[in-house]
Structure formats: structure tokens, C-alpha cells
């Protein structure tokens, strides 16, 4: 049953750029997108930093060329990133092959619901916000924007969501249910998530410092990223070009706590282990790890222990790119998939910004400047609330 599955198109919008070329430029210039809050309405806008997309909703509507008032920020950015991925891949959704859209989100339409919720009890003007509150809305918007989509579904497993969307897409191709799938995730910033993370006291008021001894928490970001994945049969049929191959993936559960990771990173260790087993690679064959690395004391320590459990004293070069984009929640894993493919294509490791001192318990030191080195294999981790742990392994095509 198993045909190989390739990534053939990239699309991304986040704090570091409105498309993939802009994102690559920021990454290769070590330029973060995290800064002062401009678009999100919150009383804390001068106290915290965030990785905002630098466009207003009006700008976004212009870019997608659609003034439908039902569209919200989540849908706009999802549509843009998905379209970029499809154009980049060169697939034609009208050619009779089976195309799927598998997206993921945690916040869905809440960013708009929170603006009008109380008003809806009094006035009729914004009652249609009810129709776009749920997670499926942006996925169906993507499907209709692309046209001729045979299959849609949406996943929400907190901060590991997009990794699971990518995994499901690969599985559906291998099981012969689809020929190619547009997979990824989206989360726009909202007052709801901002206050949620603030209440958990895991937001850093300054730039986040993943894997630093003195890290204080994460910076929230927003974004959408999608990749086109294709089975080798469909790819060969159209003589398309592969950018990378998805050679391993795994989904496990930490089953330790609703929001915290186990100290030893048990679920994470299992996910990395299982993804490696599937890829047939040994730990020493992994050239670089794009870490989950949120910058919270709990995640980074737990992930460091999981990394040492698998790689021992030969930990590959690694970095977290969340100090560029902020933590984009459901979109994080697909944004980091795009970044990983850019790393493979350009033989570049993008730095772990803001790092100075290694965590005392583990002594792990990430790459802190741009590294030019040939890369053949990359491991990408994503972990989330509810103990959801996912790892993906990509190989240069």
C-alpha cells in the first residue's frame, strides 16, 4: 500500500513575512517578527510583545480579493497560505485527481466572536458570526477558494495540531484515499488566547529565549502555513518536482497533565522514537532538529530531556525558530515544516535567537547564528496541551 509521500509546495504567512520568500529573507537575516502589539485589541498591548502579521483585516481582504463580510482573520490568512502552497506546487485541482484539504486550528472564529459576543444578545447585526465560530469554517473557505476539493476535515490538538494534519494527509495518501492533500494549520491572534496564556503565567514580557537557563515564557504569534503533499504516483504522473520527502511521523500522548509536560518528556520521547523507527533512520542520521522550543520553563526542559533520551551525548544541531515567529499554536507545526523545507533546500540552519546560557540540568546549546551546512534529514517536534506529542521527519528530495 505504501507509496512515498513528498512535499511539493509551500505557503506561509506570519510575523516574519506575508509569503514564503519574505519569510526566507527574515530567517536568513536573523530578523525576528516579534514586536509591539498593533492589531490585537487588548488592555495589555503595551505590556507584552507578540508576533503579529503586519497586515490589517482590510489589507488581508484585498490580498485574497474577497470582501465577503463573513470572512475573518483566520480564514483570510488560511486562504492566502493555502493558495500560495498550491501555486508553488503547480498542481491543478481540476485535473481529475483526488485532492483533500486537511487543516487545523485552535482558535477558529473566536477572534471575531469575542468582538461581538455581548452585542449579539441585543442587536441582530452580527448574529452571522455564529456561523463562522467553529473550526471547520476556515477549512471550508480554503476548499472553496481552491475549488474542486474532494475531501475536507479539520484537526484540533492544541499546539501540535498542524503536525497531525500533515500526518493524516500522508496516511490518507498511503491508504490510497487521496492523491494529494493541502495540509497545515492556522491561528490568528485573539484576546481569548492571549488572556488564556497570560492567566497561565507562561508569557514572557520580553523576547522569548528558547532553551535559555533564564527563559521566562513564550511570545504568542499568529500565522498560517500549508504545504502540498503528494503521493509519488500523482507526482510522477504530472512530472512535478518534490521539495522534500516525509519519511517519518508519530503521534503519542504524554498522559501526564492537561497543560504541563512530564518532567522527563515521556510522550515526546515516544513520539521521536516512533517517528525514527518509521523512517528507518538511526538517531545519528538526523542532521538537525527544529525543536518545539516555546521558551516556557516546562516545555524546554522536558523537550531537552526527551532529546537527550533519544540522542544521548550526540545531540544533532538544533534550534527553535519560535523567537522569529512567536508561538503560532495550531499553525506552529506547519510553519516549522515550511522552515524545515527551506533549511533542506538552502542548506541553512536558522538560529535560535535570544539564547545566552544553557539550561543547567541538560547543558544543551542550540545554534545561535545562521549555519550554512548541507542537510539531508530534519526532525521537527510539536507538543501541545492535553499531552498531544507529534514528531515529523523530513528528508531532502
Amino acid at each position: 500500500m505504501s507509496q512515498r509521500v513528498y512535499i511539493t509546495g509551500l505557503g506561509m504567512i506570519s510575523a516574519i513575512g506575508n509569503n514564503v520568500p519574505e519569510s526566507f529573507l527574515s530567517l536568513s537575516q536573523s530578523k525576528t517578527g516579534i514586536g509591539k502589539i498593533n492589531h490585537l485589541t487588548t488592555r495589555y498591548k503595551d505590556e507584552f510583545l507578540a508576533g503579529e502579521i503586519k497586515l490589517s483585516n482590510t489589507d488581508l481582504a484585498d490580498l485574497v480579493k474577497d470582501n465577503n463580510p463573513a470572512l475573518n482573520r483566520n480564514s483570510y490568512i488560511a486562504m492566502l497560505a493555502a493558495k500560495e502552497a498550491v501555486i508553488n506546487s503547480g498542481i491543478d485541482t481540476n485535473d481529475g485527481l483526488r485532492t483533500g484539504v486537511i487543516s487545523s486550528t485552535t482558535i477558529a472564529g473566536m477572534g471575531k466572536t469575542e468582538l461581538y459576543y455581548k452585542e449579539m444578545f441585543e442587536k441582530d447585526d452580527h448574529l452571522n458570526v455564529l456561523d463562522t465560530h467553529d473550526c471547520g469554517d476556515s477549512t471550508e473557505r480554503i476548499a472553496d477558494y481552491l475549488g474542486n476539493v474532494d475531501y475536507v476535515t479539520t484537526i484540533s490538538t492544541a499546539c501540535s495540531s498542524a503536525a497531525n494534519a500533515i500526518m493524516l494527509g500522508c496516511r490518507m495518501i498511503k491508504h490510497g484515499q487521496l492523491d494529494r492533500v493541502v495540509v497545515g494549520g492556522v491561528d490568528a491572534l485573539s484576546k481569548f488566547t492571549f488572556n488564556g496564556f497570560n492567566t497561565l503565567m507562561i508569557l514572557d514580557r520580553e523576547w522569548c529565549k528558547p532553551f535559555d537557563e533564564n527563559r521566562k515564557g513564550l511570545n504568542l504569534g499568529e500565522g498560517a502555513a500549508f504545504v502540498v503533499i503528494e503521493g509519488e504516483n500523482a507526482l510522477n504522473l504530472r512530472k512535478g518536482k518534490a521539495l522534500a520527502e516525509v519519511v517519518g511521523y508519530a503521534n503519542t500522548n504524554d498522559a501526564y497533565h492537561q497543560t504541563a509536560s512530564s518532567p522527563e518528556g515521556y510522550g515526546a520521547t515516544l513520539a521521536i522514537q516512533q517517528a525514527l523507527t518509521m523512517s528507518g533512520l538511526t538517531p545519528s542520521q538526523i542532521d538537525y532538529i527544529n525543536m518545539h522550543g516555546t521558551g516556557t520553563p516546562n516545555n524546554d526542559l522536558s523537550e531537552s530531556f526527551a532529546t537527550k533520551a533519544i540522542f544521548g551525548n550526540q545531540v544533532p544541531k538544533f534550534s527553535s525558530t519560535k523567537a522569529f515567529t512567536g508561538h503560532t499554536l495550531a499553525a506552529a507545526a506547519s510553519i516549522e515544516t515550511v522552515i524545515s523545507v527551506l533549511s533542506l533546500q538552502n542548506s541553512m540552519i536558522f538560529p535560535n535567537l535570544n539564547f545566552t546560557t544553557a539550561i543547567a540540568e541538560t547543558g544543551l546549546v542550540p545554534e545561535t547564528t545562521l549555519v550554512n551546512t548541507p542537510l539531508n534529514t530534519i526532525l521537527s517536534n510539536s507538543f501541545g496541551f492535553g499531552g498531544n506529542c507529534s514528531s515529523l521527519i523530513f528528508k531532502k528530495a
Binding site: M1, T42, R43, Y44, T105, T106, A108, M110, T113, E114, Y117, M120, F121, D124, L127, N128, L130, H133, D134, C135, G136, T139, E140, V149, D150, Y151, V152, T153, T154, I155, S156, T157, A158, N164, L168, R171, M172, H175, Q177, K191, F192, G196, N198, T199, L200, N251, T252, N253, D254, A255, H257, Q258, T259, Y266, G267, G384, F385, G386, G387, N388
Partner: protein, 353 residues
């Protein structure tokens, strides 16, 4: 083709489905224009220290999951897959209102923590100490269908036992807003649900969980032979064509289907294609409905699957579900044709095993 054998079921709905003996004998009508689920005494299923903090969706999900697991007589599963359209809406609303009422101050994290859509699946994993595969689908009328599609793939990938479930809850405020938005049937209709001439659904909530097994055991109640989702089919003829191909894949025709459970929702706009389809179904099979009993929600298809399993177990079609005048002489194959908002359609085939 891989099948999934249903070895345990648990269902909380507006009816007394929590009682394993209940078989559509006493029916609770809607509360005016919507349904509330009948919730059990949770103490039997959930430890008191956990129960205190859980929102309704979590309690309903964990309890129904627990019932299914007990019935299957198992202690561990290889995967937990949940589906929910709106997730833990009560907790989401509680945190949202706290933000709005207090201008983002004096917030506590509990309701935020529990507001994530994967909370039910992860709570079950925590309780069962299940470190294995854990997925949550959140796509409208495909949320529950996706769990079954995934489970069937996982069986081919080597898993043996999987817990799947659909979960939906509403809140009093959400009911008010949906009524204000004219989503409900405004006047009680004397027409049966499959003959609606007016827009509006009867909004509802509920949860149904299933323990699925790769191989048949003495506990097996029925098998799930296949499932297919259709996104925005253009016409009822399209649906019928796809249905014939779906059945052909399983070496069946419509005439082999003893009961076809159809997802009429009482909204004439959403039901239009099913109304057009009904004569073709009735010509060869026996048509029935279920949303007159469970109401409409994103994962109503989980209630439909529970119903199909019961029909196969009892070999009887309750009068309250029947659309066709004919009674089935046997119930070997049950087909579910669900629709949600006239956008998300699905076929699910269950068989006696």
C-alpha cells in the same frame, strides 16, 4: 476491506440512551425548539476529584467513554479519537465572558485550560494512562465521521482496539443566540421531520462512544464496513450516484440495505436533497430517521451509529424512527446517510456480524 467491530457502546442523548435497556420505548419531546441531553449521575463513572472541575462536554464524554469501555470489558486501548464540532463550549464561553465582563482582569485559567477541543480525548488518555495515538477532529458534520475513517486506517496499520466518540454540548446562552439568529423551527410543526416545509432545526447535544476492535470477538455487536464523506455535493442525483458506488465497493446494492437511517433535520433548506432522495431509497430499502429523537448537532451521526448498532442488536425498527410503512423482516445491513447544514454528507455502512 478492513472492518471495525463494535464491542462496546455508550450514549448520552436527549433520550434515556444511557440505560442499556432503553430501546426507543419512551420518547422525550424537544423543549419547545431545542433538546437538552439527559445527563446521568456522573459519580458512577468519574472520580469526585476530577468531576468537580469538568465542564459538561467533558463529563458527558468521559462517562459515555467509560460505559463503552466497561461494556467491551477492556482496560486499555491503542488509540483514542474524538470528534466535536464546537468542543468544550461551556468552558470557552465561561472564559470569554470573564474576559469581557472584567476587562481582561482577575481571570483564572481553569476554564481556558478546559476550553481546548482536545480536552475530552486527553482527559480519557490521562484517566486510562494511554500514551498511544490521540486525535481530535473538529470539522462540522464530519467531526465524528473522521474518527471512524481514522480508526479504519489505524486497524490497517496494526492497531487492535480503538475508542472513538462524538461529543457536543450547548449552553443556555448559545441556545438564545441561535434562536435570535432564527436557526430553530419557529412554530411547532405537525409534519413529520422528513416532510418539513419550513427552515429551522431542533438544536441538540449529546455524546456517543464506541469501542472498536479490529477482529470479531464474542462481544461484537455489529461491524462498521465502510464510511465516506461528501463535501457539498451539487445535486441529489450526485449523492445517489456516489451512494451506488459506495455500496458497490462493499458488493451490495440498495436492495440489500434493510434499513436506511436518514439525517433529516427538520430544516427544509438543509433537507432538500434528502427529501429528493427519499423516493429512491424507499423504492429498494426501508427508510427511517433519527433527528426527530436526538435533535440536530454536529456529531448527531454518532447517535445515528448508536441507533444502527441497536437496530442490528434488537432486529427491530422502532415505530418512532420509521418513515416507510414496511417493517424490515430482518436487519442485516444498516446504512446511515447523514447531512449537516446541507453541506456535509456522509454514508456509513453497518452490518450484523
Amino acid at each position: 476491506m478492513t472492518k471495525a467491530y463494535i464491542n462496546g457502546i455508550g450514549c448520552i442523548s436527549p433520550q434515556n440512551s444511557i440505560d442499556s435497556e432503553w430501546f426507543f420505548d419512551a420518547i422525550n419531546p424537544a423543549k419547545g425548539d431545542y433538546f437538552d441531553a439527559i445527563e446521568p449521575s456522573y459519580k458512577e463513572f468519574i472520580a469526585p476529584n476530577l468531576l468537580r472541575r469538568m465542564g459538561r462536554a467533558i463529563k458527558m464524554g468521559v462517562a459515555a467513554g467509560n460505559i463503552a469501555i466497561q461494556q467491551a470489558g477492556i482496560e486499555k486501548v491503542d488509540a483514542i479519537i474524538t470528534g466535536t464540532g464546537l468542543g468544550c463550549f461551556e468552558d470557552s464561553e465561561r472564559f470569554l465572558l470573564a474576559i469581557l465582563n472584567n476587562d481582561e482582569q482577575f481571570l483564572t485559567p481553569t476554564s481556558f485550560i478546559q476550553s481546548t477541543h482536545n480536552t475530552v480525548g486527553s482527559q480519557i488518555a490521562l484517566i486510562m494512562k494511554c500514551h498511544d495515538y490521540n486525535f481530535t477532529y473538529v470539522h462540522r458534520g464530519f467531526s465524528f465521521e473522521s474518527t471512524i475513517q481514522d480508526a479504519l486506517m489505524l486497524f490497517e496499520e496494526g492497531k487492535e482496539t480503538i475508542l472513538v466518540g462524538g461529543i457536543e454540548e450547548h449552553t443556555p446562552n448559545f441556545v438564545v443566540l441561535n434562536r435570535r439568529a432564527h436557526k430553530f423551527q419557529e412554530l411547532p410543526s405537525d409534519k413529520p421531520i422528513w416532510k418539513s416545509t419550513t427552515p429551522g432545526i431542533q438544536m441538540s447535544e449529546g455524546t456517543a462512544f464506541f469501542v472498536l476492535n479490529k477482529t470479531k470477538t464474542e462481544k461484537s455487536l455489529a461491524s462498521i464496513d465502510g464510511i465516506q464523506t461528501l463535501y457539498k455535493p451539487k445535486t441529489s442525483a450526485d449523492i445517489l450516484n456516489k451512494l451506488h458506488s459506495f455500496l458497490k465497493l462493499h458488493n451490495l446494492t440498495l436492495a440489500d440495505i434493510d434499513v436506511t437511517l436518514m439525517g433529516f433535520s427538520d430544516d427544509v433548506n438543509f433537507d432538500q436533497k434528502l427529501q429528493e432522495l427519499l423516493p429512491s431509497i424507499e423504492k429498494e430499502s426501508i427508510a427511517a430517521c433519527y433527528k426527530n429523537v436526538c435533535g440536530e448537532y454536529h456529531t448527531a451521526s454518532a447517535f445515528a451509529m448508536w441507533t444502527a448498532t441497536k437496530l442490528i442488536e434488537k432486529q427491530k425498527l422502532p415505530k418512532v424512527l420509521a418513515i416507510s410503512d414496511k417493517a424490515p423482516s430482518k436487519i442485516k445491513h444498516v446504512l446511515i446517510i447523514n447531512q449537516y447544514l446541507g453541506i456535509n454528507y456522509s454514508f456509513t455502512l453497518l452490518s450484523q456480524c
